[in-house]
């Protein structure tokens, strides 16, 4: 990873969905660059394209046109199998609804990410243990998700996201399903990770959390709204 070049660079990125005979432009001409170690907040109203943008950033979806450079590598047109490989090694996901696998214990959930990266078995357990210790969940390693509170589950999800040492952490409304106290705790955890050098892109509706980021971008109708336009929109609201 070069300190000079952005970790994420989107150039004139578009995403168009075709349903029946209707064409929907979910993202239009997105230009975005995220520097290493940056904490980026993404916000915007429903239908503005946040989800689509995060899907593309997380390599869950591919753009219709434009370029997506991840750590300087063009990844917009990768085959699904290559996207999966890259996703496992370079992207860490934190979902709003935690998305832990109910049939697996906490440590197995965290280890799952490493198994998909083909990390040797003897390396996995120490890394899982370290990740769980990092989020303060090592004492619940043998528990199943259903035995944990929402806040604890989200901390485990964070552990799963960081255990593979990804380039970027993508957080999709990470506090959306939590009460305020647990939400605060998760945000504190993300801030700590950021302070340690992690690059984070977080979708949030909460202005307070958005302000904690290094930079906050807003989406509207599939476009990133510039600062003046943003102020005008806020004034209208």
């Amino acid at each position: 990873m070069s300190q000079d070049r952005p970790i994420i660079q989107l150039e004139n990125l578009r995403r168009v969905f075709h349903a029946a005979e209707v064409e929907t432009h979910a993202l239009s001409g997105i230009q975005l660059s995220v520097q290493p170690g940056e904490f980026l907040s993404i916000s915007g109203p429903s239908g503005s394209g946040k989800t689509t943008l995060l899907s593309i950033l997380g390599l869950l979806d591919a753009p219709s046109s434009g370029r997506y450079l991840l750590d300087g590598r063009e990844v917009g047109e990768l085959r699904p199998i290559d996207r999966a490989r890259l996703r496992g090694s370079q992207i860490g996901f934190i979902f709003q609804s935690f998305n832990l696998i109910g049939d697996l214990t906490v440590e197995d959930n965290v280890e799952l990410a490493l198994s998909y990266q083909s990390v040797p078995v003897d390396e996995r357990r120490p890394r899982v243990k370290a990740a769980l210790e990092r989020v303060g969940m090592a004492h619940r390693a043998r528990h199943f998700p259903s035995q944990l509170s929402g806040g604890q589950q989200q901390r485990v999800a964070v552990a799963r996201a960081i255990v593979g040492k990804p380039l970027v952490l993508l957080a999709d409304e990470p506090t959306g399903n939590l009460d305020s106290a647990n939400g605060e705790a998760v945000i504190e955890l993300l801030k700590e990770l950021h302070a340690e050098g992690a690059t984070i892109c977080m979708v949030t509706h909460n202005p307070e959390y958005a302000e904690m980021a290094d930079r906050d971008i807003q989406l509207f109708d599939g476009r990133i709204v510039d600062e003046s336009r943003r102020q005008a929109l806020e004034a209208v609201r």
Partner: protein, 807 residues
């Protein structure tokens, strides 16, 4: 590689945990597959042990049974003359070793037990070598035993040694009386050796010397040979044919039109059941296919509920291959557990089949589960697991991951394609069940037709006792008649006996089959002068009437038809129709061997081999002119025949104390014996078809149940808008019936095509039998309707208000 294995281990561990926590789902799939795998394992065990495994003789792949072919008779494995064997053993270079055998009678007596006519086989040293005969104790026959003047020796079979002699180890070296002649017992032969028919073990093994004046032409020998290394069947057949041609030239009187060939000993032993067993194996393949389709359906339903979990895995880096590997780990794991359970199902299936005639198959005693069958089950289970897991795996490997980011990542689904695939699988299940059911229906109808066929005689309450008369050396020509007359007189006095008569080969007893050369002077069929081989029986004067075989013309035999009277015969209507279609057969004369014989009567034809075989032309000769020593006493009783079995045997021994009785049986049990294979086949096929119907019904139920769950809200809205309970119910049932109808549309033509394979085993029923096809179609619709009942009832219980609150 280690990474791949560790990934696999990880997935298997994950799958095991997941399946353990969803025990209901796991149990359903395991039971479904266990049935499919179990019946396949059972059938493979039968096919493998009966057909595929080499016979248990040394170098059995090179062992050939020599056969005789004549224009009149099809193929015979018996009947080589001593001279023919001698020439073949000397001149046939294609064989490195030849052995001979013949069946024989002989009464075992003089040891305190009742006289007994054991199954007996005379063999030579060559055959002993070919069979690898190794006694349990004692020794084999040696060259000395075949020299003139040597002590008479026998080996006894294990069964008779245990039963008659209490497994006495001291028996070896002692003498037993065989035909009142002392024979030294030199060894005990284990019962695992079941030469030559691979079903019943031989009880007495005798020394079979060649005649000092060996005859060519028809004799009493069976011949087995071991091919020389590198010699093919075709090369051996060519040489045998050439040798037969040479014999025909040298001995035209006996060997004209007499050709030799060979077939593998395995084919001789099991060839008669090969086609049917493979057919049944195919049928259980369909059952497994159904079980896999059903399990795929269940797994797809589960996949729909687990789509989100798999999407999470994909989101955190699982490749489509890895997702598929995970799904297949689950399906294979379930399948392997089902395979273990299937071994139990297989054992039960084999035990169940034993109740319905499995023991009637050759090599049946070898059927069972062992390491080889276990290996087959593991491979089959693994393949089944991969097969039924493939569709769900493919579906989950191509999830739309962008759904992950919507509504907190909880909306991932398999979309409408999943339901369509499930419906398609159910249609397939109905189609497969339809094919199997039609196959079973046809064999059941065929079986009923066979049982309903009139054999042409009354077989009820008829006891048959077959014996070889202990004719003294030098007895006069009339001894045989006097002996059997004496027996008949004694037996007639036994309470419960209505009539007694005699025949030299009772119906349905395959061992006795007699033919003779017939010529009819001035008849167009005999212009070439070549005789026709015609089946015959020698009977006492009361036999035809006692058996209720109708006299159609002329008269019955009387006691006056004896050696001093002109030679006479009675013909069957088939023989009359063959040679005198337009004239009266009675009064015609035929040449039988050297004798000019007058036809004095015509009787109805009988199905004396099997009920499903047409009556063949038959000659009956009076026993007072032709009595043999091997005859069967036919005893008609006024009660259950087995109740008078012992008193009748006592009557025989009262007349002749040391007379052995080879076999006592009823005609009904012989008839049952001829039907045992049909019974086994139709029972197995019916059982497989019922399993198939059950699986198809489960499939329809599963799909409709799932559809009702998916449509709960829609149904609620419909009811809120005024839909009535019957209309809601019908909407569900009609969905199931539509699947069944589509299944039938596919299944009926396939059944029509595949039922052609059944033609050879059907009797009086065609593969296109409309009754069977229509009945199966109606049954499948009814079953599908019944399978929809519970989902339909659930649909009518939907609370509209509760549904509308869901969103």
């Amino acid at each position: 590689m280690s990474g791949l294995l560790s990934d696999l281990w990880h997935d298997l561990r994950h799958a095991a945990g997941s399946l353990r926590r969803h025990a209901g789902f796991s149990a359903t799939v395991i039971v479904t597959l266990a049935v499919g795998i179990g019946v396949n394992t059972a059938m493979f065990s039968i096919v493998d042990n009966v057909l595929l495994r080499p016979l248990g003789y040394p170098e059995s792949d090179r062992l050939q049974t020599l056969t005789i072919r004549t224009p009149q008779r099809s193929v015979s494995t018996y009947g080589f003359g001593d001279g023919e064997f001698e020439a073949l053993a000397r001149d046939a270079k294609s064989f490195e070793l030849m052995g001979r055998y013949d069946y024989g009678g002989g009464t075992l007596s003089g040891d305190g037990g009742p006289p007994e006519e054991p199954t007996s086989l005379g063999i030579d040293l060559g055959l002993q070598e070919i069979l690898g005969l190794t006694p349990l104790m004692g020794r084999r026959f040696s060259q000395d035993d075949y020299t003139d003047g040597a002590d008479r020796v026998v080996m006894l079979g294990e069964e008779i040694w245990r039963r008659r002699y209490g497994a006495d180890p001291e028996l070896v070296g002692r003498t037993v009386l065989l035909d009142e002649s002392a024979h030294v017992v030199v060894g005990i032969v284990p019962d695992v050796l079941r030469f030559p028919d691979e079903s019943e073990p031989i009880q007495v093994w005798r020394v079979r010397r060649l005649s000092p004046t060996p005859r060519m032409g028809w004799g009493s020998l069976g011949v087995v040979g071991r091919l020389a290394p590198g010699v093919t069947d075709e090369q051996a057949d060519s040489e045998l044919e050439a040798l037969a041609a040479g014999m025909a030239t040298e001995h035209p009187d006996t060997n004209t039109d007499r050709s030799f060939a060979s077939q593998s000993m395995q084919e001789t032993a099991v060839g008669s059941v090969q086609d049917t067993l493979f057919l049944l194996w195919g049928a259980v393949g369909f059952v497994l296919l159904l079980a896999c389709m059903n399990s795929a359906n269940l797994l797809l339903a589960r996949a729909a509920s687990k789509a989100h979990e798999f999407a999470v895995c994909s989101a955190i880096g699982a490749s489509p291959r890895r997702v598929m590997q995970r799904v297949l780990s689950e399906s294979v794991l379930l399948s392997l557990v089902a395979g273990l359970a299937g071994l139990l199902v297989a054992q039960w299936t084999i035990e169940g089949a034993a109740l319905f005639g499995l023991q009637g198959l050759p090599r049946a005693q070898e059927i069972g589960l062992d390491g080889r069958i276990f290996g087959f089950t593991v491979v089959l289970a693994t393949l089944a697991g991969l097969a039924y897991g493939l569709l769900p795996a493919w579906q989950l490997g191509r999830l739309d991951l962008s759904e992950m980011m919507k509504d907190g990542g909880t909306r991932v689904s398999m979309g409408p394609v999943g339901q369509k695939i499930r419906s398609a699988l159910t249609i397939g299940e109905v189609a497969v069940a339809c094919v199997l059911l039609i196959g079973a229906g046809l064999t059941i109808r065929s079986s009923r037709e066979i049982r309903a066929t009139d054999p042409g005689f009354d077989h009820q309450n008829m006891l048959g006792l077959t014996l070889w008369a202990d004719r003294p050396r030098g007895a006069d020509a009339g001894w045989n008649e006097r002996f059997f007359d004496g027996l008949m007189e004694r037996i007639s006095a036994v309470p419960g006996v209505e009539t007694v008569s005699i025949i030299n080969g009772m119906p349905w007893q395959s061992m006795f089959d007699y033919s003779t050369n017939v010529v009819i002077a001035d008849h167009p069929s005999f212009e070439s002068g070549e005789p026709a081989q015609t089946k015959f029986r020698v009977v006492s004067e009361g036999y035809l009437a006692d058996m209720d075989i109708p006299l159609l013309a002329g008269r019955q035999f009387t006691t006056a038809d004896d050696r001093d009277a002109p030679a006479v015969t009675i013909v069957s209507e088939e023989l009359a129709a063959l040679y005198w279609p337009d004239t009266e057969p009675v009064g015609q004369r035929i040449q039988v061997g050297e004798n000019d014989v007058e036809i004095i009567g015509m009787v109805g034809g009988i199905r004396e081999r099997r009920l499903d075989r047409e009556p063949v032309p038959m000659l009956y000769f009076p026993y007072r002119q032709n009595a043999d020593i091997a005859m069967t006493l036919m005893v008609r009783t006024d009660r259950e025949p087995t109740l008078v079995e012992r008193p009748v045997q006592d009557a025989i021994w009262a007349e002749s104390p040391n007379q052995g009785i080879w076999r006592t049986t009823t005609l009904d049990s012989l008839l049952a014996g001829t039907l045992v294979r049909e019974r086994l086949y139709s029972t197995l096929l019916t059982a497989f078809a019922l399993v198939a119907v059950l699986l198809a019904a489960t499939g329809v139920y599963g799909v409709m149940s799932f559809a009702v769950t998916q449509r709960t809200q829609e149904i609620g809205i419909r009811m809120a808008l005024g839909a009535t309970t019957p209309s809601v119910c019908w909407s569900v049932v009609s969905g199931g019936l539509r699947l069944a109808a589509l299944g039938l549309v596919i299944g009926l033509p396939i059944a029509w095509l595949t039922s052609r394979w059944l033609t050879d085993v059907l009797y009086q029923v065609t593969g296109l039998d409309p009754v069977t096809h229509a009945a199966v179609a109606v049954l499948m619709v009814l079953v599908a309707g019944a399978a929809c009942f519970l989902p339909a009832w659930r649909a009518t219980r939907v609370e509209p208000a509760a549904c509308l609150r869901v969103d």
